[in-house]
Structure formats: C-alpha cells, structure tokens
Amino acid sequence: MQIPSAKPKGDAVLAEITNFEAMAFRLKQWIKSPRPYLMVAGLLLFLAVWYMTTELFKLPRFEKLPGPVAVIREWLSEDPSYGISIYVSEYYLHIIKSMMRVFEAFGLATLLGVPLGLFMGWKKVFRDYTFPIDETLRPIPMLAWVPLAILMWPAREAAIVYLTFLAAFFATTLNTLLGVESIDEVYFRAARCLGSKPRHIFFRVVVPGALPYIFTGLQISMGVAWFSLVAGEMLAGEYGLGYLIWNSFVMVQYPIIVIAMVTLGFIGWASSAAIRFVGALLMKWKVREVSP
C-alpha cells in the first residue's frame, strides 16, 4: 500500500497552487477550443430532431413516442399529470431504491471480486482452481440467471440485488486478474532483490500494480450493475427506475418512461465519475503521468 509521504508543508501548498493553476489553465484552453460549443450544438441538434420527429411532424413510428416538450413539461411540473416529476417524493423514492440496490450489489462485488482477482493473478494454484468455473459462468447472460435467482431468493428484493451482484462480480474479478497479469515481471524481481517477503509483494507490488485495471473493472462493473438492475426491476420490482419504466409502459404513461431513462443516464454517468474520482485519488502517480 501507499507509504505515506512526509511532504514538507510548504511543498504541499505549492503543489496545490500549481494544481489549481494547471486546472484553471486547462479550463481556459477548453473554453477557447471548439469542443464545448460542438457539445452544446450536438445536444441541441439531438433535441431538435427528437422534437421534429415526435411532436412537430409526428412521423410514422415516432408518433406514439413522447416528445421533448411533453417530457420536460411533465418532469418540471408541480402538478404532474402522471404523478412523477421533480416535485414528487415518489420520484426520489424510485431513484433511492435503485441506487441502494446498486450500491449493495456493487459493494459486495467489489469486496469479493477484487481480492479473488488479486489471488487468482498472484498464485497460479489458486487461479487453476477458480479460472475454469469463472470462465464458464461469466459468459452466461444475466437474464438467464433470473429463474435460479428467484428460486434461491424468494424475496424479490434479494433476487434483484443478487442478479446485479453477479454481473458486477464477474467484471471486477476478471479485470483485477488481468491487472495482476499486466504487472511487469521485473517489479516482482526488484521487490525480491530488495528483501520482500510474500506479504510485501502482495501489498506493495500486486495491489498497487493492478490498481489501474481494477478501476477499469469497477467502471465496467458499475455499468453492468445498472444494466442488470434495470432488467431485474422490470421483472420483479416494486420500486426502482426499472420498475418505473416498465410500469409506465403498462399504464400508458409514456413521458415517464423517458424521464426514468434520462434519470438512469445521469445517475450512471455520476456513478462512473465517482469511481474515476476515487481512482484518481488512489493513483496520483497515474494522474501526474498523463497531465502535461
């Protein structure tokens, strides 16, 4: 693990100023570049096409879909016609329920998947035991697990979390294993030369060396966790954004479908950003490597 560095205070302050200045400089460069304007233009273009196809010209196949005006009006309405908007507590209940499930499943997948992947990569014997099972179970699509999940966990809640966990777990384990395998043999040799015992090699070479891949794995794991969660909630939910989408379809409350979809998009993006943020904190050496 990281040896805490005893940086003199003056240096730390200097580093912070430099980092802040560097950030301000990059932001300025970004504003000067065409990128932000292209991004806004792309978004506006998408909204315009959506509006024209669904609400303005009502093209065939698009006529039944909710348009942006209907969706935004419903979303921001204090008295929504279908009962879901930013002013309604039920909306947040669905969000919180889904987030809690993902949090539980993702947390458990990380707690079990990372150590398992590390051991599989580090000790060949351990890998030989587990790899064939892992490789056989991993490609099975999550939906195929639904019947067994319901048999194992008759309570709906546990079944949904279990499905979400499974998807996240395989992604985390495999990427962690790849992370350990990606570590150059020369670091193991150097560590042994310097008098490391196996535990030092594990904590000071295997863990930090695999971190970049582990965090890639966690990002993928978060993505597949949301994917499985929505599938699970559609099948067996009572609350949650997946349930909201399916229920709104059945109840012919089409704007809510889009509201829930966009909400999923935002939360998914935010959870990936949170993982990247934690990764950047733990891998300062990588952050500094890519900065100019």
């Binding site: 040896i3 150097a190 030369c193 310097l194 008098g195 030092h200 930090p208 050496w285 490597e289």
Partner: protein, 278 residues
C-alpha cells in the same frame, strides 16, 4: 586481493554451466564458466548478444538456477545445481529497462528495502535515503513520482535504492543501453563517484566497449553462445578516473585489445545468426 579497500562482496564462479530446457531444445547458454571477482572489484562483462551475460547475472541474483558448477559469495556457496540462490538485498540488480516502482515516489522507492527487511523504521530509512539522495544530487526530486523524472535520474535513483541497503554486490544489466551519448557520460561519472565512495563490488554487463574500459577494473570478454570466458583484460588505469582517461594512450591500447577479442566473437555470432535465418 581486494579493490577499493573492500573486504566483502567477493564472488567465485566455478565451472558454471547452464542448459535451458535440458529435456527439449537443450540450449547450452553457459559452458564451464569460471571467474573470480575479488571484493570491491568493478568487473565488466562484454560479449555478443545471447552469449549468456544476463544468464550469469540472473544466476548470481537468484532468478534462475544453474545446471552444474557453483557460485559462492564471500566463500559461502549460494547457487548450486541442487539449490538456486534466493534473491536478497546483499545482491541487488539494476535492471536494463529500470524497475523503480511507478506507484511510489522517489523517496518511497529508496526506503523500500530497509523498511521491508525490518532493518530500519520508516523514519530512519527516510533519513538514510535523504543522505544518499543528497550525495547523489537527487534531494530535489524526492517527492516526485517515477514518471515525472528523466531516464538518467531514474537510473541514479535505482542505484540509490540499491545503495541504501547493506549490499555486497551491485549487479547492473546494461543499465545505460538506451541512453544518448551525453546522458551516458554523465551517468558514467556518477557511477564512478558512487564506486569510489562506496567500496562495493560491481558486476556490470554492457555492449559498449568504451564504457567497459572507462568504468571497469577488469573487462571479461565472453564468447558467442555457448558462453565461455574468452579473455580477461586488466584495466590498469588509475582511479579516480575522469574524461581525460578517454584521450590517454593506455585507454586506446586497451580498447584495441578488447575490440579484437570481441570482434571475432561478434563475427561468429553474426554468422551463426545468418545460418539460423537461412
């Protein structure tokens, strides 16, 4: 016999043979190599690619075993066909492409050895590392990560990381191979300073004959595969050495001598390579 007033770090390589894949391809990498390296000597090994230089270094370091013969350190056998050497902090390797841990800062890299061996507390190790980094003119980069410093600095940090330990022999595997001539000459001066100060045995592998003579107390020329010791040349140029050495008559004579020995082997290696491809 000892160089530099050193009493530890003598290596004795006796009739060492190494066969890779004895059951299958049966590649004879080292053939009956014998070499005595006195304590504190700067011993340079030269020879064509694939002649077994690194194989010999790896056997001393404990990265692989030998098929026959024996390697001893200060009279104690450390590597025999039955038991390969255990890597340890008395024989530290400076690797060809560098092996500083990129996830640690310079300081964290240098204190790694003493801390994991339990020989110093982290505070003591920081003090010792600070002293060594200071001597090497590296105190300003102690808190930098490895990817933030130049390749020349990385090599010096790697030497500092080795020197902070209680080592007997420093094993260097073509450490300056990929460097430009200017950086190389700075590195040479630095290594000579370290050698003159630390009195440690150095086992140095290189392809660069000028480097070999400029740095070494003895230059050992190996034959093309299977690797044997072809010639051992004493470099009787006094220390401390500086760039003036490169202009001296004795340096030119020695260079000629090494060049003749190596060229013959290089030609054989080249022809063998041609045959392999034909």
């Amino acid at each position: 016999m000892s160089n530099n007033g050193s009493t530890v770090g003598s290596v004795s390589i006796r009739n060492v043979t190494k066969i890779f894949d004895p059951e299958g391809a049966h590649v004879l990498a080292l053939d009956n190599c014998s070499l005595e390296i006195p304590a504190g000597e700067f011993c340079v090994i030269v020879g064509p690619s694939g002649c077994g230089k690194t194989t010999l270094l790896n056997a001393i370091a404990g990265f692989h075993g030998i098929s026959s013969g024996e390697i001893s350190l200060d009279g104690v056998p450390i590597c025999t066909p039955e038991k390969m050497a255990e890597p340890g902090a008395d024989r530290i390797v400076v690797f060809q492409n560098g092996a500083l841990f990129p996830w640690y800062t310079v300081m964290e890299n240098v204190i790694y050895g003493p801390v994991v061996q339990g020989k110093m507390t982290e505070a003591e190790a920081r003090q010792a590392a600070g002293k060594i980094l200071g001597e090497m003119g590296l105190q300003g980069i102690a808190n930098c990560y490895i990817n933030e410093i130049s390749s020349g600095m990385r090599r010096r940090v790697e030497i500092a990381r080795a020197m902070v330990n209680d080592l007997k022999i420093l094993l260097m595997d073509e450490p300056y191979r990929a460097m430009d001539a200017l950086t190389k000459s700075v590195m040479h001066k630095h290594l000579l300073d370290v050698y003159d100060r630390a009195h440690k045995t150095i086992f140095f592998i290189t392809h660069d004959l000028e480097e070999a003579i400029y740095l070494g107390s003895r230059v050992v020329v190996m034959t093309t595969r299977p690797g044997r010791i072809k010639k051992v040349i004493d470099v009787d140029i006094p220390r401390p050495r500086d760039l003036q050495v490169l202009a001296s008559e004795r340096y030119r004579e020695l260079k000629m001598e090494v060049l003749e020995a190596v060229q013959e082997e290089a030609r054989k290696a080249f022809e063998a390579g041609e045959r392999e491809f034909a």
